[in-house]
């Protein structure tokens, strides 16, 4: 209630005119007249509050500082320190005080003398200063204030003597003179040259900020001078966790200018690129009127949060910053730059944005390598030449996006999927060589439009100053892009086609086959209408449609289309063309999945052969063709040659891409599957599967179709290859069950997995339960538990026919398991869900699940609501799903309330 009043009060204050305020109050009054009355009273009081409560406040912010300075005082005007006589106090700060002083010998001159306040280890400070002194003496630059001397006062405080510079801080000077952007840049370039000079002499400033860049007038010409070189280093010394913050605050002032690496505990790690960062902050403030991060906010956030922000938060582009300022503030900033807000923002957009952001890169290797490189880029900008700093690439921005939204589901590999997206966007250039110039230019224009769409529209959603959206997933990002696409490029079908092709590819890589299909189909139609049936892009789009159909298990359609595309490509480009090889390779894959061995062999063999002759065949196409060819060789009895193909394919992928690239992961899967099929090198196969599974999970998560496929492959390897490890097999199967909905959505991957999980056992003796044949075998191979031991010993069967014995036992003890209508599995991971799911029924029976274990419960369908007292629930509990976890498997029989029926009692 009161909070609402407060907000309303502020809202009214924000309204510019009395009329607007009155209207607002009327609206409030309509709902709540009393509230209106209270608000009006508040506003009245606000108007005439005058200096109510304020007359007691100290006149300036430095009241506290003065008190502290007084307590720290000792030296003052008139005091003599070494060869210097203090004349007047010219500056004060957290570090101490600066005096104008007079030097009498060897020359008579006025100097600036900075006395550091108590609290520093004087010996260390002067020691570090002495060490640096030689280097400092080498600096000789008109825009650097020379450091002349240093030492300790009689009272034991360190001091430094510098060339006396009487001027204003750079930012203030520019504001007071209302310098335009160009003049500001020119001054800044001079500052860069000074910093460059120092860097060449091996001196890093470490504390560049406006108050350390003073501007004085010589003959009416503004001359910036960088002061305090060498002093930050002397003061910094060994920063510890306890002191780093305070010292920055107290001695070095503003954290807004601190580079990410300087926030590290071992802050001595600063190098010349830390100065580049600070120059970037300075430039940012010169251009927009404020640094990228607000010092006060950083300080109020606390040490860890401050560090985190400096290291992780991406600065808002200068032009964006201007646009998001309150109108009044923007007016002020623009006025001080002798221009209008809109004009200023457009001046900064583009080059200057990128130049500033390049200085502010978190990773210093990405910043300008030197201050002169920065200066040169600025000079280029002033001369209207292209600058080296550029809009960050799509993949680069994606990387940033992933960092920003790391709490969401964006994974590193989603980024990888996007990387492939850019490959599509730029693939127009690969074919330039054999296309006419004009066509090439057209392609370039389309590629640029596509790139712009992703850069501007897609990332605008998630980028910029907006709060990170923890819910944002790659899928969500793509869906938004798809939405924005609708009707956007009605006049540019080629652009829309390219964007859709790219989107489809990304969806496909993420395992979202249905969405991929719909984008690819639209792309294919658009391409055909705009470019004709035979055009490369039309063919590519149609071939993509075939891929999506194959993944969705529409095999016949996929095959028909793949054959047609190959025929068209052959007709248009001949056989010896990278595009034709691509379609051959893709057709081979379709035929392999369809088990059309002759056609699979024929096409894959041709693709592999052509790839050696035709330049420009993509690695992906060759690797896929080699997979199919290798498997075909294996099936026709040429096992060694087949293995050779698959090994080479893996080598190729590793060499040309990298070990974690999705294609390499697929190559591992293919080779391992080959070993499995031929029952050779099983330990190698296991190793390959596990490695691939780990990489795939890390990149695409547990639910990606390829992840599921790899897990399935690993499960059947554990189940069917010596040494059989049933617990591991079952454990992986349980994991697969978790993703049943995903399996349903990607039938091609799912088919064998679902078969495994739901096949009825082939032999008559086993009960027709939902447990698959494999499942039964696994059950049979379980280490005997107490109850099983007892029962089987009674029957005397255990040693003779263990599998059948156990199956029989199972049927005897769980008669309802014969009922086909039985609810097959309730899969529970961990204990929390278990209780919720079973609503306490089984828990009441005294069964507790173990955290971290996986549980499968078998029970009749009605059990969920009303479990009968004579019902039994079978719980299979498994641990050890992940490599390295000790594998363990237990089967529990849970009699439900055998002693007392709760409903009876």
């Amino acid at each position: 209630m009161k909070a609402a009043e407060r907000e309303l009060f502020w809202n009214v204050l924000d309204l510019p005119s009395p009329a607007a305020r009155a209207e607002y109050l009327d609206r409030v009054g309509a709902d709540d007249p009393a509230l209106r009355g209270r608000l009006e009273a508040l506003l009245r009081e606000h108007e005439r509050a005058g200096d109510f409560l304020e007359s007691n406040a100290s006149p300036s912010a430095s009241a506290g500082d003065r008190a502290l300075a007084a307590a720290n005082a000792g030296e003052g005007p008139g005091s003599v320190i070494g060869r210097y006589k203090l004349l007047e106090l010219i500056g004060e700060g957290g570090f101490g005080a600066v005096y104008m002083a007079e030097q009498r010998e060897p020359v008579r001159r006025k100097v600036a003398l900075k006395i550091i306040k108590l609290g520093m280890d004087t010996k260390q400070v002067t020691g570090r200063f002495e060490a640096e002194r030689q280097a400092l003496a080498l600096m000789d630059h008109p825009n650097i204030a020379r450091v002349l001397d240093g030492g300790a006062t009689d009272r034991g405080r360190p001091y430094f003597v510098m060339e006396l510079v009487r001027g204003l801080p750079l930012t203030r000077f520019c504001d007071e003179r209302r310098l335009g952007t160009r003049e500001r840049l020119e001054l800044f370039i001079t500052v860069c040259s000074a910093v460059q000079h120092a860097h060449q002499k091996g001196i890093i400033h470490r504390d560049l900020k406006p108050s350390n860049v003073l501007v004085t007038l010589y003959d009416d010409r503004p001359v910036p001078k960088v002061i305090d070189f060498g002093i930050a280093k002397a003061l910094q010394g060994e920063l510890t966790d306890k002191t780093v913050f305070t010292r920055f605050h107290e001695f070095l002032g503003t954290p807004a200018y601190m580079s990410p690496e300087q926030t590290q505990l071992n802050g001595l790690d600063a190098d010349t690129r830390s100065d580049i960062y600070a120059l970037g902050v300075l430039l940012y403030e010169l251009l927009t009127g404020r640094p990228p991060f607000d010092s006060q906010e950083l300080l109020t956030a606390g040490l860890d949060e401050m560090r985190r922000r400096i290291r992780e938060d991406e600065p808002v582009r200068p032009s964006t910053r201007l646009r998001t300022l309150a109108a009044q503030d923007a007016d002020t900033v623009a006025r001080l730059r002798n221009t209008q807000p809109a004009r200023l923002a457009s001046l900064l957009r583009g080059d200057l944005d990128w130049i500033v952001l390049k200085c502010l890169e978190k990773d210093r290797a990405r910043r300008y390598e030197s201050a002169s490189a920065l200066a040169q880029d600025l000079a280029r900008h002033l001369a209207n030449e292209p600058v080296t700093a550029a809009a960050p690439s799509l993949t680069y921005r994606l990387g940033k996006l992933v960092r920003r939204h790391r709490t969401g589901v964006l994974t590193a590999a989603a980024a990888l999927a996007f990387l492939l997206l850019t490959a599509v966007v730029s693939s127009g250039f690969a074919f330039r060589t054999w296309r006419a110039e004009r066509v090439a230019r057209e392609e370039a224009a389309v590629a640029a439009a596509v790139s712009q769409f992703f850069n501007e529209d897609l990332f605008a959603v998630a980028d910029g100053g907006a709060e990170p959206d923890p819910e944002l997933t790659m899928r969500g990002l793509l869906d938004r892009a798809a939405l924005q696409l609708e009707g956007r490029f009605r006049e540019q079908p080629r652009v829309e086609a390219s964007v859709r092709a790219a989107l489809g590819r990304t969806y496909f890589n993420l395992g979202q086959y249905a969405a991929a299909l719909s984008h690819w189909e639209r792309a294919a139609t658009l391409c055909r209408d705009a470019l004709g049936e035979e055009h490369r892009q039309t063919l590519l789009a149609r071939s993509d449609v075939a891929r999506a159909r194959l993944a969705l298990d529409q095999r016949m359609e996929a095959r028909e289309l793949a054959e047609a595309v190959l025929a068209s490509a052959t007709a248009a480009h001949g056989r010896n063309h990278p595009l034709t090889v691509k379609f051959l390779s893709r057709l081979a894959l379709v035929c392999y999945r369809l088990s059309d061995n002759p056609r699979a062999r024929e096409t894959s063999a041709e693709a592999v052969a052509l790839a050696r002759l035709v330049p420009g065949v993509e690695t992906e196409d060759l690797v896929h063709a080699m997979h199919v060819y290798g498997r075909m060789l294996g099936r026709s009895g040429e096992r060694d040659r087949g293995e050779q193909q698959l090994r080479e394919a893996l080598e190729l992928a590793r060499r040309r891409l990298q070990d974690t690239h999705p294609l390499t992961v697929r190559a591992k899967n293919a080779l391992a599957a080959f070993y499995y099929d031929h029952q050779i090198r099983i330990p190698d196969a296991e190793q390959l599967y596990r490695e691939a599974l780990a990489q795939q999970r890390r990149a695409f998560g547990d639910a990606h179709p390829l992840t599921l496929n790899l897990r399935y492959n690993l499960a059947i390897l554990y189940a069917h290859r010596e040494p059989v490890r049933p617990h591991l097999a079952l454990a992986h199967q349980l994991r697969l069950l978790e993703h049943r909905p995903i399996l349903d959505a990607s039938p091609a991957t799912a088919r064998p997995i679902l078969n495994l999980l739901s096949q009825t056992p082939p032999d008559a003796i086993a009960p027709p339960t939902p447990l698959s044949a494999d499942g039964w075998r696994l059950l049979a191979a379980l280490p005997p538990t107490d109850w099983a031991q007892r029962d089987f010993d009674d029957a005397g069967w255990l040693s003779a026919r263990p599998a059948e014995a156990r199956a029989l036992w199972f049927r005897r003890h769980f008669p309802w398991s014969n009922d086909r209508s039985i609810r097959p599995w309730v899969y529970v991971r961990g204990s929390g869900e278990f209780r919720v799911f079973l609503n306490g029924v089984v828990a009441q029976a005294g069964f507790t699940t173990r955290p971290g274990a996986h549980h499968v419960f078998l029970f009749p369908p009605e059990a969920l609501a009303t479990l009968r007292p004579d019902d039994n629930v079978l719980a299979i509990e498994a641990r050890g799903l992940d490599p390295g976890e000790p594998a363990e498997m237990t089967i529990h029989r849970i009699p439900v309330a055998p002693e007392a029926d709760p409903r009876a009692g």
């Binding site: 009161k2 407060r6 009060f9 502020w10 204050l13 209270r38 009273a41 508040l42 506003l43 009245r44 009081e45 606000h46 005439r48 509050a49 005058g50 200096d51 109510f52 409560l53 304020e54 007359s55 007691n56 406040a57 100290s58 300036s60 912010a61 009241a63 506290g64 008190a67 502290l68 307590a71 720290n72 306040k117 108590l118 609290g119 306890k242 002191t243 913050f245 305070t246 010292r247 605050h249 107290e250 607000d294 006060q296 906010e297 300080l299 109020t300 606390g302 040490l303």
Partner: protein, 190 residues
Amino acid sequence: MYSGAMSEVTRLLNAIQDGDPKAADELVPLVYSELRALAAARLARETPGQTLQATALVHEAYLRLVGGGPQEWNSRGHFFSAAAEAMRRILIENARRKRSQKRGGNFERVDWSEVRLAIETDDDRLLALDEGLERLESEEPQAAALVKLRFFVGLTGQEAAQALGLPERSATRLWAYARAWLLRELQTSL
């Protein structure tokens, strides 16, 4: 004696930093007695009724109790909050005492619209303000804390914002609201 109080204050500041809510309550009396001692010494030397050096007083107390050495920055903010509360108590106590000596209870009506309050304004007004402040505290604790820091310690808007860990702009708005709220409150309650 001070070294004992000093380490205790530092300990409490660290405890507040670590989120111990009780530590703030324990800190106030310590700061209170220090401020009293300092104020008494000051007042003895200077003209009676002189309270304008609240800021200097608090800073001095800070130096004596915490010392000039490196500190986590916001320990100073916590200290100021405690000092503001202590300062308020001292002044109110003082005003009450003086009033009871002078009059032993009086219902003189004060026209607040005419008042430009400073700390040296008369005690009745100070006490009325304090009552308003108490009500504000129950409604809007942060606004009340801001008033205490600015009025009783004499911090500037910027310093007070920092002590409270607020962006300056938010503090400015809160300040406008607090002042209007108090004035309205005082109008209606007197």
